[in-house]
Symmetry: C2
Subunit: 295 residues, 2 copies
C-alpha cells in the first residue's frame, strides 16, 4: 500500500501531536512543522505510509531531542492491559470457542494506536473492548473475516511468526499465543518487535513486561519503521519471515507494508484510518482477519 496525498495532512497532525507528547515548547513544535514542510514534497508516493511515517517521527525525535517520547505511555499501556489480563483470560476460557474468542480479542486490542489518535485514552478504549460482549466472535466473512482459513493454516504450522504492533496490545497478543500453545505445545512461536523506538510500537522490553517471553521467542526485526518494511529488516528476520509456516501480522502498519508481500500473511487489524479502510475495502472501525500477500 502506498503513501497517498491524504497521508500528508495526517503526517503534519502526527508530527505536531508527537512533538507535544515529547514535551516540546510551542516554538519547537513550530520548528517541527516547518522542517516537515521543507521535506514533505520529497516524500515518495511509491513508499508505504510507515516508510514515510518513519521519516516523520525521526524528524520529530531529532528536533525535540527525545529518543522515545512514548516510553511512559507504553509502560502505562502495558500495565493497564495487564490488569485486564485475568478477566480477558476468563472470558476466553468461558467462550464457546476459546481460539475464536482469543483471535477477535487480539484484533480488538489493536485499538491501542497512538499513530492514529495521539490523545488516546487507553483506559476508555480497553473498557470499550470489555463491554462489547456481543461481538466477541465476528461472523465468518470471505472478504473480511477468514477465521476458518486462519485456523486451518495455523493448525498445520510448526513455526509461527507473529508480527507485533503496539505496546499494551501485546497483552492481547499473549492471550492468543497462549491459546495457540494450548492447542499445540510444540509449535515454535516467534514474536517480532521493532528494534528501536517508533511511536508506541512494542519493543522487546514491552514484550517481556507483558510476559510474552514465557510463550514465545522475542525477536527484533532490525527496523524502526511503524510497520514491517522488509528492506529495513535484518537478514535474520528476512530468513525467518520467508521460512515461517504462518505469518500473523498485527495492526495497520504491518498491513500497509506487507499487503502485497511475496508470501501469504494473515492480517489481523482494526481499520482506523480512511486510507487503510479504502485500501482494505472496509469501513473505519472494522475488525479484519484476512489472508493477504501472494499465495
Amino acid at each position: 500500500m502506498k503513501t497517498c496525498l491524504d497521508c500528508i495532512p495526517c503526517f503534519f497532525r502526527q508530527a505536531l501531536e508527537a512533538s507535544k507528547l515529547a514535551g516540546a515548547s510551542p516554538r519547537t513544535q513550530q520548528r517541527v512543522l516547518n522542517e516537515l514542510a521543507k521535506i514533505c514534497s520529497s516524500f515518495s508516493l511509491k513508499s508505504s505510509p510507515p516508510e514515510t511515517g518513519r521519516i516523520v517521527y525521526r524528524l520529530v525525535n531529532r528536533i525535540t531531542e527525545k529518543k522515545d517520547p512514548y516510553t511512559k505511555i507504553k509502560a502505562e499501556s502495558n500495565q493497564k492491559a495487564l490488569k485486564l489480563y485475568p478477566r480477558l483470560k476468563r472470558r476466553i476460557a468461558h467462550s464457546s470457542d476459546p481460539m475464536a474468542a482469543a483471535v477477535s480479542l487480539a484484533i480488538a486490542g489493536n485499538i491501542i494506536d497512538y499513530g492514529v489518535k495521539n490523545s488516546l485514552n487507553v483506559e476508555r478504549e480497553l473498557k470499550k473492548i470489555m463491554k462489547e460482549e456481543t461481538r466477541l466472535i465476528p461472523k465468518e466473512n470471505k472478504k473480511f473475516y477468514q477465521y476458518t482459513k486462519f485456523k486451518g493454516a495455523l493448525s498445520k504450522a510448526n513455526t509461527v511468526l507473529y508480527l507485533a504492533d503496539n505496546a499494551g496490545e501485546i497483552v492481547f497478543d499473549r492471550l492468543l499465543l497462549e491459546e495457540i500453545q494450548k492447542e499445540d505445545p510444540l509449535k515454535q512461536i516467534i514474536y517480532a518487535v521493532k528494534s528501536r523506538p517508533i511511536i508506541n510500537d512494542a519493543l522487546a522490553k514491552d514484550a517481556r513486561q507483558c510476559g510474552v517471553d514465557r510463550i514465545a521467542r522475542i525477536f527484533e526485526s532490525g527496523s524502526d519503521a511503524p510497520g514491517t518494511v522488509l528492506s529495513l529488516c535484518s537478514q535474520e528476520f528476512l530468513r525467518t519471515y520467508r521460512k515461517a509456516d504462518i505469518v500473523i501480522s498485527k495492526g495497520q502498519g504491518n498491513f500497509e507494508t506487507l499487503s502485497l508481500s511475496q508470501r501469504p500473511v494473515f492480517f489481523l487489524f482494526m481499520a482506523k484510518c480512511p486510507v487503510v479502510a479504502r485500501h482494505a475495502g472496509c469501513r473505519i472501525g472494522d475488525i479484519i482477519l484476512r489472508c493477504g500477500g501472494k499465495k
Copy 2:
C-alpha cells in the same frame, strides 16, 4: 482568536479536499500541497484562522484555476434547505416561543460548513436538524446560551446587521429574519455576505436564491475571507458595522475574527473544530449564542 499550530495540519487537509472538489488531477493536488508547504512557515500565528484560511484557499484556486469550486455545492445546499423551508416555518409557528425556536434553528443551520468537513452530506445534516425536536430550544445559560440578553438587545435595535456564513444555512437565517421582522416590521435588516467566493460561504446571489432579499438588504462586506476580517472589509461595511444597533454574527469564521471586536456582537454558531471549541470554552457540537466583543 489566533491561528494556532493545530490549524496547520487542518489547512493541509482543507487545501487537499478543496483541490479534489475543484476537480484537480492528483498531480495538481500534489502541487497544491507542495506550494502550501512552501508558504506555511510564513503564516502568522497572530492572524485569525480565517485570515490564514483565505491565503490557503486563494492558493488552491490559483493552482487549480477554479475561481469558485463550490458553485454547484452552494446552489445544491440552497435548494435542499429551501425544500425544508415550509416544514421549518411550520415548526417555528407551532413552537411555544417562535423567536426562540427560530434562533436555535438558525444556529443548527450552521452545521452546513465545508471548511470543517469537506465531504459534508448536507441532506443528512439537515435531516439531523429536523429530527432533533427535543432540543429545539436550548436552555438559557450565562456562558453559552444568552437568549434573554439577545432578545432584549434585539427588541431595542432599529438597525440589525446580520453577518451571514454559509450557503444553504441562509434559509435558516431567513426564518430568523422573518421572525425579527414579524415582531417589528420597521426594523432595518442588513444581511452581509462575502464579496467574492470563498469555500461555501454565502454570496449575494445565494442570499437572493434563498429569498433573503425580500426581508433584508443584501450587503457585500468587501472581503473574501471566510470570516469578517475588518481590515479587508469596505469602508461602507465598516461604517455599518460600527453604527448598527445590533450585530448578529453567524458561524465559526465570524466568531474567530470578531470575538475580540471593539463593539458588542452576538455570536450564533455551532462549535465544529477543537481549536474554536477551546477558544469558546465549549465542546464540539455545542450550539452557542453568546454576546462577545467589548461591551
